[in-house]
Amino acid sequence: MIVLERRPQPSRNWALATPLVAVLATMVFGGLLFAVLGKNPVEAIRTIFWDPLFGEFAFYYRPQLLVKGAPLVLIAIGLSLGFKAGVWNIGAEGQYIMGALAGAGVGLAFYPLDAWYVFPLMVIGGALGGWAWAMIPAILKVRFGTNEILVSLMLVYVAEQLLASMSLGLMRNPEGHGFPGSRNLNDYAAATSWINQNAGLHWGVAAALIAVIFAYVLLNRHMLGFHIRLTGEAPRAARFAGVNPARLILFCLGISGALAGLAGLFEVAGPAGQVSIDFNIGYGFTAIIVAFLGRLHPLGILLAGGLMALTYIGGEIAQSQLGLPAAAIQVFQGMLLFFLLALDLLTHFRIRLRKREVA
């Protein structure tokens, strides 16, 4: 009989090895899927994982990895703090939208004023927008004990409706011939988040890197980080250690909301350029997966964000170069997540063969 035995300490070796094993397993099974669809599996895998990094046009794709990965990392870092403490914000998508709306709203209100303070004010607006949206589940949780998973999720749909309303109404581009969508902020120099477009650098990329360092320091060197970890691992011990649970909930949801809001602002003022009905494309949900793939560790999240971005970009190349359907790429990403999640088992447990005990 096969039994699982909890390791006294999570295995460091397996923690490092499982992502690699998972990627290899995905390549094998994904390759099988592509073969069934009549494509050359080796070529498909190479196109997805190799071409964006080292292929002929890597000079273009490498910066794109930053553009695609930055919002994922930025949001996932914020979420991971809460997840570590057992605070489940799964409504980052809504906070991302609200950050973008608030930040873009500030920018559009100043249009066409050309002043240095426009963008910083937008950044503050974006962070506040996301923060405020996350404060709703936080306050309800603290005040009434309402489940934050569901409240934050519900607020995503409310935010989506607000987004539609804004792009058709208040924020609609007055020079846009009646089409939905706001002015393009890329044409408004004082409000753009781009630093260097060809290098894929915008302030969101910088913010993501800063967030990684900040989270690392917080978790390893700071009392608050210790409290977060303690609350997640041993809530009762945390209470004895003097952790104020209400304050911790407000902090965790607030910081994750603010970071998601920032991600939304940097995206709307840079890569996306404008508020439009379909502005949000699931970064808030994908970031949850990124947070878990990264094992809730700041550096892990950085790598996981990069890996997700790679499969998106490589997947697009595979679609146009090899004619793979978009759905196959989705299934492939799903497989990767399954393997990464399943193999995490080996980090925490030992698999043992044991003779069945005679009852």
Partner: protein, 357 residues
């Protein structure tokens, strides 16, 4: 020994041959906003892509990426196609407008064709279809066929394209049936078959016996079939699986002639930036076969209307037409200009209700 030599030389010939063909081939990229299996908007663009392949065979190579979100992702997909040697790229959603312009700046030698937008550049054309011409024909049939005098209209979002269609259908229904009334429901989605089904059912329950739709799924057709005694029109694709009734005719997005012509222009080196807004005459808007559920007399009228629009003898927006608030818009015999049509954000006189905002 001989055999291997033969293989080797065969391989060489083949290699040379493919090399030569590859140089001749015109490479065309297509960027789709939905899946090719959406049965509507993207499906029709992909049909046109296949028509290009059928027309030119080995002389072209087409690539496409489906379900590309608007914004940075679309920009990357276009760049990727251009880097990989595309000569011509069709970007088939309004939301790709700014991305198309950005990428076009970086690749001055690649030609771009953007659907339904208004920004052009030396290497960016825009193209769109005058679907309102088809709506006029629908409106005529609707006005003649309705017994309850209530026509239901399912809109997606309140944008000029949709409002133009409503106005055109209403004007021509009113012309043949002064008592006709339009009930308009906004679904606030481009794509949600379940919601479209609900909208159609609601309109039918409120007495509509003709359903016009500006959403792409066949859900309203099925709802009409279940209700009986209700007629519908196919949208985007022919939806002939619901003919002869409830589907009595359809507006078909037919991009194939345009795509073939533009591909030919690139091959010939005659491509230049244009702003195309074609209708029934050029074949970009197809009117699906009018089924036998429509009496021969009405069918003949509808076809006559279609022919006069196609020939350019008649414009669906010809005065006198007033705006909803009663203010004058077009004087007797005056024809609407394309600028006003493109940005249309008002109802014509007689339509009840407000455009939501």
């Amino acid at each position: 020994m001989k055999l291997t030599a033969l293989f080797a030389s065969a391989a060489m010939v083949l290699g040379l041959a493919t090399g030569a063909v590859a140089q001749d081939k015109t490479k065309i990229g297509f960027v789709y906003v939905g899946p090719v299996g959406d049965g509507g908007w993207t499906y029709e663009h992909d049909q046109a892509r296949q028509a290009v392949v059928a027309e030119f065979g080995d002389k072209v190579e087409t690539v496409f990426v489906e379900s590309v979100p608007e914004g940075p992702d679309s920009e990357r997909v276009m760049t990727q196609m251009a880097l990989n040697g595309a000569d011509l790229i069709f970007t088939t959603s309004f939301g790709y407008m700014d991305s198309t312009i950005n990428v076009a700046k970086k690749f001055p030698n690649v030609k771009f064709e953007h659907a339904t937008g208004y920004k052009t550049a030396p290497n960016v054309s825009v193209y769109s279809a005058r679907f309102y011409e088809g709506r006029a024909v629908q409106g005529h049939i609707a006005g003649r066929m309705t017994k309850s005098n209530i026509v239901g209209y399912i809109g997606s979002y309140p944008i000029p394209e949709v409002i133009r269609g409503i106005n055109s259908a209403y004007i021509h229904a009113k012309k043949v049936n002064p008592d006709v009334q339009f009930k308009i429901v906004w679904a606030y989605t481009w794509f949600d078959p379940a919601k479209e089904a609900d909208a159609a059912k609601v309109l039918i329950e409120q007495g509509a016996d003709v359903i016009l739709q500006h959403t792409d799924s066949t859900a309203p057709q099925a709802a009409a079939k279940a209700a009986g005694n209700v007629i519908t029109f196919g949208q985007a694709s022919d939806m002939s699986e619901y003919a002869p009734s409830p589907r009595v005719s359809s507006i078909i997005d037919n991009w194939a002639p345009y795509y073939i012509a533009r591909t030919q222009a690139v091959m010939d080196g005659t491509w230049e930036s244009v702003n195309t807004w074609d209708g029934i005459g050029a074949g970009m808007v197809g009117i699906g076969e009018i089924s036998d559920a429509v009496p021969a007399e009405i069918k003949a009228e509808a076809l006559a209307l279609k022919d006069s629009i196609a020939a350019g003898d008649y414009h669906p927006f010809t005065g006198p037409i007033r705006k909803q608030d009663g203010s004058a818009w077009l004087a007797e015999g005056e024809v609407a200009d394309d600028g006003t049509l493109a940005g249309m954000n008002f109802y014509v006189e007689g339509i009840e209700g407000d455009i939501p905002n």
